[in-house]
């Protein structure tokens, strides 16, 4: 770690800036014909609040990223250690020891209600995100930022406790900068119901037009924006039930939707007016074994403390077939606690192959034998029977658990499906009150989240998220080495070793990575389809004048707030 990644980034940033300038030059190039249009995007879950630190689901992020801005945007390629576009900051520099990053805000930046954006707003925003009572979910990712100071009115400095590979990512992209003048007096424990969350004011190129609860959120072009107005007049997010999504896409009531259901994808992608594009997967699901007794961390689990049994279950499931039959092309078989879209993911590591006969032999050798005339294996009179906790809110998991139950029945195991509602599920997961749970994770491009879910420290913390009590110090060591590496190339061998370790320990059966397909009306010309965030460049999307629909020609009326 002799060399910081600072200089490298700075060079890249210069290039990016130039590129962005050209980019904006073309879209803005007084090409009046590019301006105009209204698109309607399906939204499955209506946000409770549009206050960025309270982000709860992806639908909120899509909207908030239009109204608010980070200091910098992750570039189109999604590489964490290079490739950023300017956001609120139009340039940045590293302090010599790489423990501080200086962001130079665009001096023309203004809030949508008038006042200029200041470095003090950045400092205030960090304070808000970092305040535990506000409830920012990824607060742990800010743990290594010591403080944020305002060097002058347009210069904000992020001070770090130590150097690490993803410093820039954490500082520049995680925080959407908020207006201090509107939020300073808001009580922090009740931010969730703050009026600001329903009437957000940011510095982004779209501003909130009209929010009709249960129906739609309308964003309008902020014509006075310091970056220049967006091409589109209007983006409407329509709250759409998954059951009517296919119909509304087909009839053209919806222009764009992320689709995760194979049936909807098949119907909609057959429409001549729609273009389909696969998004990379950032979600993986797995059957997680509890290494300890339910709710009791001291006792090893009677069944699943045994790696042999865990391995046998994994061998007994034909994951390829399970995934294909349920998801078609909208999921792939998972290889470990990662998705292939993550830069550090290594899908070449050895995984447990499907081997039904091998699983049976392994079970026999472990003493789980099938008594004559019975269908369930026993060991010392104890039947091989366990329950799997499944949340009823997840249709995918509810469907797949039935197929899994059937596969394991053939191997002589009796699986009881313990289906519970979302609230109960979260409660029991947190209390580690289960033997096996059908769980899922959303990941970021960074693999830093692995620590929260699989480290020894997290297992021993009663509030930690290592619900299955997986403990292997060797995994922690490899992971720490990977996270501390100065760049991706040097991090990769450590990450691979970490993955190999955890996969060999079989703390879970890695089932599938779901990905979504994006369906978009063909008149829309998108740009900056960043692999992690297709919506990042929405303000520069356009609709050619010749292809406009009546709704594109409505124009930009002034909506009453």
């Amino acid at each position: 770690m002799r060399e910081s990644i600072g200089p490298r980034i700075r060079i890249l940033v210069a290039c990016a800036l130039a590129a962005a300038a050209c980019d904006r030059g073309t879209t803005k190039s007084d090409d009046a014909s590019a301006v105009g249009g209204s698109i309607i995007i399906a939204m499955q879950n209506e946000p409770r609040s549009l206050l960025p630190p309270l982000i709860n689901q992806i639908d909120e992020k899509v909207v908030e990223d239009q109204i608010f801005e980070p200091l910098a945007w992750l570039g189109d390629e999604g590489h964490l250690d290079r490739d950023y576009r300017p956001g609120l900051a139009d340039s940045w520099s590293w302090e010599r020891d790489s423990t501080a990053i200086v962001f130079h805000l665009n001096p023309k930046a203004r809030w949508q209600d008038g006042p200029p954006v200041r470095a003090s707003d950045v400092r205030f925003t960090f304070g808000l995100y970092a305040d535990s009572v506000v409830g920012f979910k990824d607060r742990s990712s800010l743990a290594r930022i010591d403080s944020v100071t305002a060097r002058d009115s347009v210069t904000a400095v992020f001070w770090f406790k130590n150097r690490y590979a993803e410093q820039f990512y954490d500082a520049a992209t995680r925080l959407l900068i908020l207006p201090e003048h509107l939020l300073a007096r808001e009580p922090r424990a009740t931010m969730l119901t703050s009026t600001f969350g329903r009437q957000p004011v940011g510095s982004g190129r779209f501003r909130l037009g009209k929010w009709t609860p249960n129906a739609s959120i309308e964003l309008l072009a902020d014509t006075a924006n310091y970056h220049g107005r967006p091409n589109l007049d209007r983006v409407v997010f329509a709250v759409t039930d998954v059951n009517s999504l296919s119909t509304r896409l087909t009839t053209g009531e919806i222009d764009l939707a992320e689709v995760s259901t194979p049936a909807v994808f098949r119907t909609a992608s057959a429409q001549p007016d729609l273009r389909a594009r696969m998004n990379p997967a950032y979600d993986y699901s797995f059957l997680l074994f509890n290494a300890r007794q339910r709710k009791q961390r001291r006792q090893p689990n009677a069944l699943f403390a045994d790696v042999g049994l865990r391995r046998a279950i994994s061998m007994g499931l034909d994951r390829g077939k399970l995934v294909r039959s349920q998801f078609d092309s909208l999921a792939i078989v998972s290889t470990g606690p990662m998705t292939r879209a993550q830069p550090l993911a290594d899908s070449t590591i050895r995984t447990i192959a499907y081997d039904s006969a091998g699983a049976a032999r392994l079970l026999d050798s472990l003493g789980w034998t099938l008594p004559a005339g019975k269908t369930v294996r026993e060991r010392r009179g104890q039947p091989l029977k366990f329950s799997v906790l499944v949340p009823t809110v997840s249709a995918n998991r509810m469907t797949m658990i039935v197929a899994i139950q059937e596969s394991l029945r053939k191997l002589g195991m009796e699986v009881v499906v313990d289906a519970v509602d979302g609230n109960t599920f979260v409660g029991r997961l947190g209390a580690r009150d289960f033997d096996v749970v059908f769980d899922g994770r959303h990941v970021e491009p960074s693999v830093s989240g692995l620590r929260a879910f699989w480290s020894v420290a997290s297992a021993r913390d009663a509030n930690g998220q290592n619900y299955g009590n997986y403990e292997n110090p060797r995994f922690d060591a490899h992971l720490d080495s990977a996270l501390a590496a100065r760049d991706l190339a040097s991090a990769r061998p450590h990450a691979t070793q970490a993955f190999e370790t955890i996969v060999a320990d079989v703390p879970a059966v890695w089932l599938y990575e779901t990905r979504t397909a994006m369906l978009m009306h063909k008149r829309i010309r998108p740009v900056h389809l960043v692999s992690t965030a297709w919506w990042a460049g929405l303000a520069d999307w356009s609709i050619p004048a010749a292809e406009r629909l009546p709704r594109d020609r409505v124009g930009l009326r002034v909506a009453s707030r």
Partner: protein
């Protein structure tokens, strides 16, 4: 009549009070709370959640919360929503009109269709047409709302594209339309959801109406009317229907609860931002105050339906009015 009304209103108030109290108890006893309602929220530490509960007064003993709730309710206030800014009543105020429009239209349509079909059948009871209509109404009455809704959606929104598939208005175009265009836009969006509810309701109304007319038609006063020289059509409309409407009209009030239940499903199918969708979302998120408010609205509708049934009964039947 006035005393009767006063008694019914008092009775209704008691029902609403009980419904409010029960729903208060049930939502608070249901597992989870507003801050544990999503799968990911385990990321927020219990101490933070405890701070939130304290900030919203949810850490107080249930009895204390209940008394506070009653105090608010007595002032006509539901208290603040736990998940969005502003009072819970504001959230309801946005949704209730949509549901009332849907239910009102469906109610009118279902009675027009039901009384029309039932009367048509009764006028030719026993004929082939009567049997076909009778069997058809039996089939329709036993369909689930969401299924019929989905079929109408497939046929009229997807196949023939005559009506939009969801929502109350065109999300982009509505505000730029002329006043008449806006009304038409609303009607186009209202068509499929209200028709779904209306068809289901009309099936049973038609059966009621047919039976009621068949009870009335053989009576002497119908013969009296014909003997006077009143034409067959007038006999049906002025003499028979007015008497046969009594059981059907009473059904009008009593069908409100069923209609509300159906609206909950139909609102989901057609993305209709009404009380049903609001209640489902609020319950999912454990937004206590909104759930209770929605329950109260439901109870009000049921009580109002009962009173409406009595008033209508009195309006069409002079014998009841006298009492």
């Amino acid at each position: 009549m006035r005393r009767f009304l006063a008694r019914r209103l008092a009775h209704g108030a008691a029902v609403i009070f009980i419904a409010a109290s029960l729903s208060f108890l049930l939502v608070h006893l249901a597992p989870g709370d507003p801050f544990s309602s999503t799968l990911d929220s385990a990321a927020i530490s219990p101490s933070v959640k405890a701070a939130w509960r304290a900030a919203y007064g949810l850490d107080r003993p249930l009895l204390e919360q209940y008394l506070r709730f009653l105090g608010q309710l007595a002032r006509g206030d539901l208290g603040p929503s736990l998940l969005q800014p502003g009072p819970a009543s504001a959230a309801l105020a946005g949704a209730v009109p949509n549901t009332l429009v849907l239910m009102g239209t469906a109610l009118i349509l279902s009675f027009v269709i039901g009384i029309g079909v039932g009367s048509w059948q009764a006028a030719r009871a026993g004929s082939g047409g009567d049997r076909v209509a009778g069997n058809a109404s039996l089939v329709v009455a036993s369909l689930p709302e969401f299924w019929l809704g989905a079929v109408l959606l497939l046929v009229f929104a997807l196949r023939f594209r005559v009506f939009p598939a969801g929502g109350v208005v065109d999300l982009v175009m509505h505000d730029s339309l002329s006043p008449a265009g806006r009304v038409l836009d609303r009607l186009r969006h209202l068509a499929l959801p209200s028709l779904t509810l209306a068809l289901l309701g009309s099936a049973s109304i038609a059966r009621y109406q047919r039976a009621a007319l068949l009870d009335v038609l053989p009576q002497d006063f119908i013969r009296t009317a014909r003997a006077k020289g009143v034409s067959d059509r007038l006999v049906l409309w002025r003499h028979a229907l007015r008497n046969a409407l009594v059981p059907t009209i009473v059904l009008l009030g009593l069908s409100l609860p069923t209609l509300l239940g159906g609206a909950v499903f139909v609102e989901q199918v057609f993305s209709w931002p009404g009380l049903g969708r609001l209640a489902a979302a609020a319950f999912h998120a454990r937004d206590y105050q909104v759930v209770i408010g929605a329950t109260i609205m439901g109870a009000v509708l049921v009580v109002a339906g009962g009173i409406l049934a009595d008033l209508l009964h009195a309006a069409v039947d002079p014998r009841v009015r006298a009492q």
